[in-house]
C-alpha cells in the first residue's frame, strides 16, 4: 500500500473511531434526588476552561459535567472570565445539557487562591483574602477558599475563614501525599471553629486528566428555588456537603448522613450512559489512526 493509501485508511479509521465514540456516549437527562425535603444538586465549583488553562470550552464542559452526574458547575479561570464571555457571545451555553453553568473566576492572589462564583466581572487579586471576599460579595457572589493547604495554608487564618462563604474540604490534592488528607481535615475543622456555617465544598480543580466532579459538592436547595440564585444561597447558608474521590463525605453531620450513599456511588460510577467497551475500542482505534497519520507525515 502506498503512503497515500495508508493515510487514507488512517483517516477512515479515525472517523470510525469517532463514530464508535458517539455510539458509546448515550448520556441522558438526570433527575436530582430529594433528601429531607430538599432537592440535592451535585456541583463542582472549581473548573478551568478554554480559553484559559482548561482544555475544554464551556459547552464541552457542560456535556462532560452531565456525563459525570453533575447538575451545576462554576467556571473559575485564573483572574479571568474570557471563556464565560466567549460562550455567552457565541450563544453556546449549557441549556441543552441541563447543567447550570455559573460565571466566576479563581482569584489568584499572592499566597492564596479563592474560587469566586456568581460574578459579572473578574475580581481584583491584590489584597488579603478578606478584601477579595468583600469584592466578591459586592457582586453578589460567594467566595470559596481554594486548596487551602501546603504553602497556601498560612494565608487562611480565622479572619479569612470568617470572610469566606465556603472552603474546599475535598480536592484532588488530598491524595497527593499520605498526610494531605489529614491537612485538609485540619483546615476544615479550623474553618468551622472560626465560621461554624462555612460551606464544605468538594471540587475537582478540573483542567484536564482528573475527571470533572472527581471531588464534588452536594447542595441542598428548596424545591422552588433550583437555579443559580438557589445554588448561591445554599453555599452562603452552608447547606452543602463535600464528597471526595474515595466516596467519603465532609461537612455537617446531619447533611452528610443524607448523601453518604450518593457520595459512595458517585465515586465509583462510570460516566452516565457510557458503554465502556465501545468507548475503549473507540479510544484505541482513534489513537492508532492518529499515530499512523503522524508517522505517515514523516515518511510522506
Amino acid at each position: 500500500m502506498s503512503g497515500r493509501g495508508i493515510r487514507a485508511a488512517a483517516w477512515v479509521f479515525f472517523a470510525a473511531g469517532l463514530a464508535l465514540g458517539a455510539a458509546g456516549d448515550r448520556v441522558a437527562a438526570r433527575t436530582p434526588p430529594m433528601r429531607a425535603g430538599y432537592v440535592v444538586l451535585a456541583g463542582d465549583f472549581h473548573v478551568h476552561s478554554f480559553p484559559g488553562d482548561g482544555a475544554l470550552p464551556p459547552w464541552d464542559i457542560a456535556h462532560e459535567a452531565q456525563r459525570r452526574r453533575l447538575d451545576v458547575i462554576g467556571l473559575t479561570n485564573h483572574n479571568a472570565m474570557y471563556s464565560w464571555r466567549l460562550a455567552r457571545t457565541l450563544g453556546w451555553m449549557s441549556d441543552a445539557t441541563g447543567v447550570l453553568e455559573l460565571p466566576g473566576d479563581e482569584v489568584t492572589g499572592v499566597g492564596f487562591h479563592v474560587a469566586a462564583i456568581g460574578l459579572d466581572r473578574p475580581v481584583p487579586w491584590r489584597g488579603s483574602i478578606a478584601d477579595v471576599a468583600a469584592a466578591i460579595h459586592a457582586q453578589g457572589g460567594v467566595a470559596i477558599g481554594a486548596h487551602p493547604v501546603e504553602w497556601y495554608r498560612q494565608a487562611f487564618d480565622a479572619t479569612a475563614y470568617r470572610a469566606l462563604d465556603g472552603i474546599e474540604a475535598a480536592h484532588p490534592a488530598m491524595f497527593d501525599t499520605p498526610t494531605s488528607r489529614l491537612e485538609f481535615q485540619e483546615v476544615y475543622l479550623d474553618a468551622v471553629a472560626a465560621h461554624p456555617s462555612i460551606a464544605a465544598i468538594g471540587s475537582s480543580d478540573y483542567h484536564t486528566w482528573a475527571p470533572i466532579g472527581v471531588c464534588r459538592t452536594y447542595l441542598f436547595l428548596p424545591a422552588g428555588n433550583v437555579d443559580g440564585e438557589g445554588v448561591i444561597d445554599a453555599i452562603r447558608a452552608g447547606r452543602t456537603v463535600a464528597c471526595d474521590a474515595s466516596g467519603v463525605t465532609h461537612g455537617p453531620a446531619a447533611l452528610s448522613t443524607l448523601v453518604q450513599d450518593d457520595c459512595s456511588s458517585d465515586a465509583d460510577a462510570p460516566p452516565l450512559g457510557e458503554i465502556a467497551s465501545v468507548t475503549l475500542a473507540s479510544n484505541w482505534v482513534t489513537c492508532l489512526a492518529l499515530v499512523t497519520l503522524v508517522l505517515g507525515g514523516i515518511l510522506d
Partner: protein, 183 residues
C-alpha cells in the same frame, strides 16, 4: 525523527507540486492530534462533536506555529520548493510533539492513576528532537549552511517557547505566583 537529515533529503527529492490547500495536510494532522488529545485526556472519550470543537479551539496553537514558521523561513530559500511545499515539509517536525500529545492523552495521570513524572520525562524527547529536526529542515530543505541553520533554529525555538511562556503565564496568572515566590 532519529535521522532527520536523511529523511528531509528524501522528502525534498520526491516530486511534489502542491497547492496552498495541500500545504495544510500536515498542519491539519497536527491540529487534529492536539484536538483529539485534549478531548481524550479531558473526558477519556472522543465523539465527532467533541473533537471538532477541541480541534477548532486549539487550532490557534498550529496557527501560531505557522506564523512562527513563516517568520523564520527566509523567503528566497522558500522559493526553491514553493512556500506551500516548504510549509508542508516544515510541519513534519511536529511529529515528536504530536506523539507526546497522544502519549499524554493515553497515559492519563489522574489522582488515583498513573503518576505525572513519566509524562514530563517523556517530554524531554520532543524537547531534544524538535530543534534537531528543524535544523535539518533548514539545511536539507532550504539549503542553508550549518551556522545559518543553527541561528534560524535558535530563533524559532526562542519564539516558540517565548510565546508558550507568555500564553501559559497569562492563563495561570503567573505574576501573582512570581510575587509569592519572591515574598
Amino acid at each position: 525523527m532519529v535521522a532527520p537529515d536523511a529523511t528531509y533529503a528524501a522528502l525534498v527529492r520526491e516530486p511534489a507540486d502542491i497547492s496552498a490547500v495541500g500545504a495544510l495536510r500536515r498542519p491539519l494532522v497536527a491540529a487534529v492530534v492536539i484536538g483529539s488529545g485534549m478531548a481524550l485526556s479531558s473526558t477519556q472519550h472522543v465523539t465527532p462533536a467533541l473533537v471538532l470543537s477541541t480541534t477548532v479551539m486549539w487550532s490557534f496553537v498550529v496557527m501560531l506555529q505557522v506564523a512562527i514558521a513563516l517568520a523564520v523561513i527566509p523567503r528566497a530559500a522558500a522559493a526553491r520548493l514553493g512556500r506551500a511545499r516548504t510549509l508542508d515539509l516544515f510541519f513534519a517536525s511536529h511529529a515528536p510533539w504530536s506523539l507526546w500529545v497522544l502519549f499524554a492523552a493515553v497515559w492519563g495521570p489522574v489522582l488515583t492513576g498513573h503518576p505525572f513524572k513519566p509524562l514530563w520525562l517523556a517530554a524531554l524527547l520532543p524537547i531534544a528532537l524538535t530543534p534537531r529536526i528543524i535544523a535539518a529542515f533548514f539545511r536539507e530543505v532550504l539549503g542553508l549552511d550549518q551556522r545559518r541553520a543553527a541561528v534560524r533554529t535558535l530563533v524559532h525555538q526562542a519564539l516558540t517557547w517565548g510565546l508558550f511562556v507568555a500564553i501559559f503565564g497569562a492563563a495561570v496568572a503567573l505574576w501573582p505566583r512570581v510575587l509569592q515566590v519572591l515574598r
